[in-house]
Amino acid sequence: MATPASSGLNWPSWINVSVRELLLVVGVIVITAGISIGSSGNFWAASNLTNLMISTAITLVPAIGMTVIIVTGGIDVSVGSMLGLVAVAGGTAFEYGLGLAAATPVFLIAGAILGLINGALITYGRVPPVIATLGTLSVYRAAAFLFLGNHWITMIPPSVTETMVLTQPLGVPVAVWIALVLLALGMVFLARLPRGRHIFAIGNNENAARLNGIPVERIKLAAYTLTGVLVGVAALMSLGHSPMVQTTTGTGFELTVIAAVVLGGTELTGGRGSLLGTLLGAILVGLVQNGVVLLHIQPFWSGVVLGVIILVSVGSATVRRND
């Protein structure tokens, strides 16, 4: 209904654990155990954990916004191209000699603008979300190409990697801390604030929400813009992870993000979803992509495994619902 999912556990209401999420936790544990054994413990090497955490954080941050969008009943398939175009904008700022602090707003603002365009098309232009963002997926990619031409941005200051990846308070990279803080904020917002409840209300029944005086258009516009900003954050993290901007940067990233959200139990029909699930979904996707090399098999298998896991996970939810 209007809240993510119910539970009998007596925890603070914003840590709302459902059966689905418990199943995901089991899934994460089983896969982790499998990879640990299969890799004779190499999974736990510090460098691997760092890599896994960073990749997961880069997926998770836009997935927070994507969850909100999907709960309202929308979708954004343009985040891959958005990440590319934002990285071009931010990378260009670095090339002009801006430092990390000065360039950060460029990432965030560029993301906000692109997200705002998506949102405006969907709310005020009344273009269906899939269509609007399918269109901007190719438009943003063409724009990245237009700005970058045949040139790659390689002169990203080392401070980006040092700050995002190599600085590790309590053994966890800064990028991951940022992702966790954003996630916690999102969880509090969705569960505790009236606006958060409005988001679920829109997803459940948009017309009813409108009749109840909820500013549907403004909230949706904000959701897409917010996702753009979060993509900006992810772009900065991703330049810390691999400091180079290509014209193809971010291609296919939208699928990873959507897969994480869907695995986490957020329903594409709108009205239901949880950020805790999204976190678990992002970890699961990260594990699947991380495991293949550790298990000494070709990366081709990760697609097969990911597809099967999504089907099994979503299917098991349905089977339970029918019981």
Partner: protein, 335 residues
């Protein structure tokens, strides 16, 4: 540099629109038009090749049309070749994403008396009239392994250890050929160096970084990594850098100076191997011009501006020269 590139894009697009409006199909009577379809556009390597082709175009009075797919996709390449043939160019060539997919196009070009050539990554078809090869595949593969072995010796004092290869697309013929010769060199000359894994990261530096990170974890006693394509070497270097294994894991491979410069400057990478893509483009332009004028190649040719260039009659291959080692001393080259 990037700023110029940025404004140039706009200028080019504006100019193209203008040309569209005015009708740009007018061609000069005697000037040959030569089409070149790279594996993909938007990457510095092929931009450098284009620079060389344009140089040859200016010098030998040819108009170069450069058009390629946005990802390394052979189906898109074939569509572009088809359109260029119908435009009536005088010569058409590709850096092929797949060696077998151009057979019908080669035939169509030859039926219309259009010269067909391949450069950088070759086409397997009888009608292909010229192959321009950047480097002898064997010499390149051997050179990379020699550089790797020297680096291992510098790090550990002996030419032994465990190494892994990170390549680009698993379907890329030239990359697979180089891998074959690298393996052969390891087996022949360095039996104590063990190749533990070959992985593929596509033409994407982020994927190459991720895969190398996983390789480093999967093989904790890894001593060296070879990146087989332009994006794999910086990806591998970044992974080695962030995992704190700089100086322990030797990184080398095949890539260009612009892309690898930061890692050579900070010492993660000592030496990489390449050829000069500008020269490759220039040689391609020269070779095509000879064909268009009906001249034949000699076993050794005097190419203005390049010097002596070998030609192999049997495979119809012009060979640019030996591989070039790039290190701190020549990293400032701009391509």
């Amino acid at each position: 540099m990037s700023r110029h590139a940025f404004f140039k894009r706009w200028a080019v697009l504006g100019g193209t629109t203008l040309a569209l409006a005015l009708g740009s199909s007018a061609t000069w009577a005697e000037q040959y038009t030569v089409g070149f379809v790279p594996k993909l556009v938007g990457i510095p390597y092929f931009a450098a090749m284009k620079q060389g082709m344009d140089k040859a175009g200016k010098q030998f009075d040819m108009k170069i049309v450069y058009q390629g797919p946005s990802s390394a996709d052979v189906a898109q390449q074939v569509n572009i070749v088809s359109s260029l043939i119908n435009q009536g160019v005088d010569a058409i060539g590709v850096a092929a994403n797949s060696p077998t997919a151009f057979g019908p196009m080669v035939k169509k070009a030859r039926d219309k008396n259009i010269v067909f050539y391949s450069t950088d990554s070759q086409v397997d078809a009888d009608g292909n009239q010229l192959r321009v090869s950047q480097v002898n595949d064997k010499a390149l593969g051997y050179k990379v392994i020699d550089v790797l072995a020297a680096q291992l010796k510098a790090n550990t004092g002996k030419t032994s250890g465990k190494v892994a290869f990170v390549s680009g697309g698993s379907t890329a013929t030239n990359l697979n050929t180089w891998i074959k010769f690298m393996k052969a060199r390891l087996a022949d000359k360095y039996p104590d160096i063990e190749l533990v894994d070959v992985q593929y990261g596509g033409e994407d530096v982020t994927k190459a970084t991720n895969i190398t990170n996983q390789l480093i974890s999967a093989y904790p006693d890894l001593d060296g990594i070879v990146g087989v394509n332009t994006t794999s070497v910086p990806g591998a270097a970044q992974a080695v850098l962030t995992s704190g294994k700089k100086g322990q894991i030797a990184v080398t491979g095949i890539t260009d100076p612009n892309t690898i410069r930061p890692y050579v400057m900070n010492g993660t990478v000592n030496k990489v191997v390449l050829w000069n893509p500008i020269d490759l483009g220039y040689l391609t332009g020269w070779g095509v011009k000879q064909l268009l004028e009906g001249k034949s190649f000699k076993p050794v040719n005097d190419v203005p501006g390049l010097g002596k260039v070998k030609y192999d009659e049997q495979t119809k291959t012009l060979l640019l020269g030996p591989p070039m080692v790039i290190d701190k001393s020549n990293i400032q080259m701009d391509f």
